[in-house]
Point group: C2
């Protein structure tokens, strides 16, 4: 195609009525001409001035298109001597063109671990209302106080606060959390041991990636939080389920299993059953972990909300071997959407875990972290926990009474001396997944207990009922609706 | 120990002058007595009323301690008949006690992948100032507009916005990003294809965990962003480095490597060298990926900041096979600490990646996401990008002039037709890591180019100089300080 033929072809092809700007049309047409070989390699392009005049468009437009095509390697400029068509033959695709449809069929799919993860996914479509477990009453959160702190920190933020966070997170927040854990949980830790994360998922991910190699064995409680299994599975670890009883995880019952390199437990309030790990079991666990050279991850999930008894001393405080990683978050005490959690590392591992966190996740959110630090230091956190403890205790009582009223002793609640949910045990043979699905259709969120077991077939039937995010007046009516479904199904 | 002996011993042991509350002291003493066998299993404890009177403390305190010890499994109550010492002999630890020091020596350490990750960690202590690459000028961010939107959303947040985010993130933000990408990058995508993440690290982690199995082969550009290698390494993948030239990654040069299952590229502005992948190379890459059944991750890192040429069409728009995962973030256009990024999934994989993201990371931050959605919709994002493009273009020019002034043609800048940094090439044999360390001591942050190569020994020497987060007046003086160090070292 000569210069004249080119401008004729362009003149016919440009659509001046189109929504697409002329720049875009011209670029696409020239690209097409080069790719299809209409413009031979090495050929000189008409000058931008000439082409602009022939097409009756602004010269700037042509210049920009030429520059873009040069940047894309389709044209090249030789000093001041003009613009030339690049030689693309070496790179040109030899294979026949395939239709979009054929390609779509061959599109690659999820990996095996991706499929597994998705099959086990348990995200509930409804994250609020009766009886969603694990969700606090966020409508009671002191948004005015929070908002005031937000404005204060956003008034004139230091640039350092708007870039990436230093390894381990904002120092002020690490100090505030260390103080809070000392007061509320008798934890013995320096601010440097506190690593800020986005929650328990990231805390466990960090511990697993920094401390475990592929194929190593991890013991999980059975039952346990399903989200834990999903994340670890995708890190290629050998997960083993160890049954819990009324005293928590029992090492003695797991003697046939491979020795673990990590044991993940919820000693202060077993999730989801609610058992408290006895002190003797704690000592045994620490002793066995020492023998195996294993780490213990202590997930102190919802220990702030206890009804009746005082908090139990944590494993972290009993550890003399630098093997306990203590994990907690503000998802239950403040609000889940905040996404701030932490782990407390043994002193010898703290710097490594902080570095690992910066390298793996490259977090920021320092302004939010600064707001939380003030919120803790100014006493809002403990005041909110105290207030919510009373409120949740009341709601728990109302739900217990509703259960008693509807079922007498036929169905009983358990596992609720702490936390935000109780377990309603169902008779053997009841299909808790089906019941939970039916309840959801009727607008009542629950979680089937069997979902939390490694082997759902052998699991006892039950429902997790969260009472924290249901207003008092709604508890009775909502439970009555659930009771109707239960009576039809069991 | 009889009841009387017990109260005598407690009376002597309690320290009323101590900072520790009596509750805590009493609990610890009784715990000790049970664990050491001073109180025999099955023995009846004195009633709380009696013990309280003998010790002269509040009965409530004793009751609470008893309840805690019951919860911990050290005591048990038998209906109304009193409180008894539990039998812990079965659980009691047989092994001899080990001192803290011995245990500390045996403390478990980092995994192999953890050590690797830490050895490669590249987090800079200084995240702001001359010449930190990859950091935008956050002091120019319109904090007033942002703060106003924050207040608006925090005034009366819906509870749903304070709990976990739905899979894929806040729908309003997914829609706003799809719109922005359509206008700014000619991307062709529906809101459902946009998955909100916390940034490129999480986007790549998600794609890798959902789409790749352990041991599968991933091609990375050589050089590339080091943070990419660290994260993937810890997922147990077979990483291969493929050299880039002036046209970007060249599949033809990699024929000896195992066929990849994923190829991660920065076609619009190769990171860190700055090459633009030619259209021919893009077509070849897509064709080869089709043949191998491989995914392509297109990291469109800093394509918004181009100086001179228009943005280049992206791979995602050329893809007919549903194999391109497009990755971007607001770290460079707004501020790194925001931690909001996204990936654009092929339609067939969008739901799976959204589910995977909810399951793996359980994100929230919906109020921040809502603020960003408004910020985009109300035009603040594009206005800010336009303004910063002009400002960064100016700073780039000033830095180029400073280099010219100090070194004439002896050292040259390259790779800066887009982005926030340039590459200052150093003579062969120069030790760029040492020079970078010396510069840091003098208060000048840079990154050694060799750091970005898979094999640092064979890498060319150079420095990455970020000009975006340095005020115009500071650029010349800061570069003069750097020039002094350079003249001494090369």
């Amino acid at each position: 195609m000569t210069g004249g033929a080119l401008s004729d072809w362009l003149q016919q092809s440009l659509d001046r009525a189109s929504d697409q700007p002329l720049y875009r049309q011209l670029r696409d047409l020239l690209l097409q001409a080069v790719m299809q070989g209409r413009l031979p390699a090495g050929g000189k392009m008409p000058s931008s001035r000439l082409l602009a005049r022939e097409l009756g468009i602004a010269r700037n437009t042509v210049t920009e298109v030429y520059e873009t095509l040069v940047a894309e390697g389709c044209l090249h400029g030789r000093g001041g001597s003009g613009t030339f068509v690049a030689d693309l033959s070496a790179d040109r695709i030899q294979a026949p063109a395939v239709s979009a449809q054929v390609e779509a069929e061959a599109a690659p799919a999820l990996s095996t671990r991706g499929k597994l993860l998705r099959a086990g996914a348990g995200f509930a479509p409804n994250q609020w209302g009766a009886f969603m477990p694990g969700v606090p009453d966020v409508s009671e959160f002191p948004t005015r106080a929070w908002s005031r702190l937000l404005s204060r920190h956003w008034r004139k933020p230091a640039p350092e606060r708007m870039t990436y966070a230093p390894p381990g997170g904002l120092p002020e927040l690490r100090a505030a959390i260390a103080g809070h854990l000392r007061d509320a949980r008798s934890l013995n830790c320096a601010p440097e041991q506190v690593i800020i994360t986005t929650g328990s998922h990231q805390s466990v991910d960090l511990a697993a990636r920094m401390l475990l190699d592929p194929g190593e064995c991890v013991w999980l409680e059975d039952p346990c939080y399903w989200g834990l299994r999903s994340g670890l599975q995708s890190l290629d670890l050998d997960l083993r389920a160890v049954a819990v009883d009324g005293d928590g995880l029992n090492c003695a019952s797991a003697e046939a299993l491979p020795a673990p390199r990590m044991i993940i437990v919820t000693p202060s309030h077993q999730y989801p059953l609610g058992a408290v790990m006895s002190l003797a079991r704690r000592q045994t666990l620490l002793e066995r972990a020492r023998r195996w050279g294993a780490f213990i991850v202590e997930d102190d999930y919802d220990s702030e909300f206890r009804y009746g008894t005082r908090p139990i001393a944590c494993l972290q405080g009993l550890d003399r071997g630098g093997r306990v990683i203590y994990v907690g978050s503000f998802s239950k005490t403040l609000f889940p959407g905040l996404r701030i959690g932490y782990l407390v590392a043994p002193p010898a591992l703290a710097a490594a875990l902080a570095d690992g966190s910066a390298e793996l996740y490259r977090e920021g959110q320092q302004l939010t972290q600064a707001v939380l630090a003030d919120f803790i230091r100014e006493g809002f956190l403990s005041a909110h926990i105290r207030r919510m403890r009373g409120l949740y205790g009341l709601r728990r009582q109302i739900l217990r009474e509703a259960i008693e009223r509807e079922f007498g002793g036929a169905l009983t609640a358990s596992g609720d001396n702490a936390g935000l949910h109780l377990i309603l045990r169902l008779p053997e043979g009841a299909d808790d997944r089906r019941i939970s699905a039916q309840a959801l259709e009727a607008g009542i969120a629950t979680r089937p207990l069997s979902r939390y077991y490694a082997d759902a077939e052998k699991a006892p039937a039950g429902l997790l009922l969260g009472y924290a995010c249901v207003k008092e007046a709604m508890i009775g009516p909502a439970f009555s609706r659930l009771a109707e479904i239960l009576r039809r199904s069991i």
